[in-house]
């Protein structure tokens, strides 16, 4: 039986770990390599690292940092942030990343996903879809930390990515980010039900109960969260944590 992956999603800013609320107000959490060591001990299924300022600054997630993470991590991990060339992908994979996450470039230049999937295999390429309602209440794809709206309807964009050859989609609700009140289940389900590739839910989880709730609603292949795995509670005291094998079973059974 394949169980859903339970994935700490860690945000990088100037190579430090931070955590946002609705993509803003970034609180400093700590050192990413320390977090990797802790998640090693906790036997996390997988880790995701996203450099949140890379695209904005016209840079890429630090190759050196990814290499250090690769040397430390005992589990698979994916990285994203500013990636828009095949050379960057190759370097990041060589540094130890299992999968590459593409955001802005996927929306600006969907063909890039096709090219990348062809070069590195579908299962290496993930697209992160950040979703927010616009002023008229329509759910659109956003990039650049939720600042730039794209013309795409969310489901159309997801299907386009699959058509181009993406191997996985991370579906993230910007409005739920850091709120810790639960996922936008409907949003995730709309996409997961319509695509053939694995979907990872992200945005809003604040407890293991929220993970269970999401999985009960829709059999996503991944349950991602930042806040749940770096905060002790909604009071937001930093405490790197992860479900035990027994707790995991309660989440997906």
């Amino acid at each position: 039986m394949l169980r859903p992956r339970i994935i700490p999603v860690l945000l990088l800013k100037n190579n430090c770990l931070v955590k946002s609320v609705k993509f803003k107000n970034h609180a400093y959490i700590g050192d990413p390599l320390n977090a990797v060591k802790l998640y090693n001990d906790l036997k996390a299924d997988e880790l995701v690292f996203l450099d949140i300022n890379a695209t904005k600054n016209g840079t890429v997630v630090s190759f050196d940092l990814v290499k250090e993470i690769g040397e430390e991590a005992n589990m698979p991990f994916s990285v994203g942030g500013g990636i828009n060339s095949l050379t960057q992908i190759e370097t990041l994979i060589k540094a130890g990343a299992e999968r590459i996450i593409i955001g802005n470039e996927a929306a600006v230049n969907p063909e890039f996903i096709g090219t990348a999937a062809k070069a590195f295999g579908s299962s290496t390429i993930t697209v992160c879809i950040d979703v927010k309602k616009n002023l008229f209440g329509k759910e659109l794809v956003y990039t650049l930390n939720g600042k730039k709206a794209h013309k795409y309807n969310v489901l159309d964009f997801a299907k386009l990515m699959v058509q181009k050859g993406v191997g996985e989609l991370i579906v993230q609700s910007i409005e739920r980010d850091g709120i810790m009140k639960g996922y936008d289940k409907a949003l995730v389900k709309i996409i997961s039900d319509e695509v053939t590739v694995p979907v990872v839910a992200l945005g809003g989880a604040g407890s293991y109960a929220h993970l269970k709730d999401m999985y009960g609603f829709c059999k996503v292949r991944g349950l991602g969260s930042g806040s749940s795995f770096i905060y002790q509670s909604e009071m937001k005291g930093v405490l790197i944590n992860y479900p035990t094998p027994q707790e995991k079973i309660t989440i997906y059974e």
Partner: protein, 206 residues
């Protein structure tokens, strides 16, 4: 003297993590695409992530096709194929309709899934591995241990006797095979915590 292990670097995938897992076990493998280095190896590792036909082309372009055949079939050196590396050991793949090394009588097919709501492709994540025969490679590994998988194509052996592990993702597939000195695993032992470490150590100890 310790066995000399060479990881074949043919430009596909994540060699760093494979290298690191061996190193943690006290063996520093060589990573190489040099014929003479591969020739000098006692054991080989064929890793790989990516497209089957691209991989075969790369191996041929690098001039590694003959030396690998010689090392595996004539000199009978133990070889561990990981993920795409396992698939390359078979007769052929539906991925690019390309011919493989044919060391193991098997073919590589795309996942054929009926319940696409629940079973998404690629198959990504932690899945159980059922041990189908006794093997040095499985020493100390519990039946139905979880390993980490990332793949969209699966191996199917033609000879039951070659099947080492099977796993289930709506359909059953061969998640590892073993034939003489040839070992292939579809999962990533280098990403599978302790159980993966045990497997790699077993290969070192062969």
């Amino acid at each position: 003297m310790r066995a000399k292990i060479v990881i074949v670097d043919y430009g596909m995938g994540n060699i760093q993590s494979v290298f690191r897992k061996f190193s943690l076990l006290g063996i520093t493998p060589l990573v190489s695409n040099d014929v003479s280095v591969i020739k000098s190896a006692d054991k080989l590792v064929l890793p790989g992530v990516g497209h089957f036909s691209n991989a075969m082309e790369n191996l041929k372009t690098l001039g590694l096709y003959d030396i690998l055949n010689d090392s595996v079939l004539i000199r009978k050196k133990p070889i561990l194929g990981i993920c795409l590396g396992m698939q390359l050991m078979t007769n052929l793949s539906e991925e690019g309709d390309a011919v493989g090394f044919g060391w193991v009588d098997a073919k590589v097919k795309k996942f054929r899934i009926n319940n696409t709501l629940e079973f998404k492709v690629p198959h990504v994540g932690w899945n159980q591995v059922e041990i189908k025969k006794e093997s040095m490679l499985m020493t100390g590994i519990d039946n139905l241990s979880e390993f980490y998988f990332v793949h969209a194509y699966v191996c199917k052996c033609n000879n039951e006797a070659d099947v080492l592990n099977v796993s289930n993702y709506e359909m059953e597939f061969d998640s590892a095979f073993e034939r003489d000195n040839i070992f292939g695993v579809q999962y990533h032992p280098e990403k599978s915590f302790e159980v993966g470490k045990t497997l790699i150590n077993n290969f070192i100890q062969l």
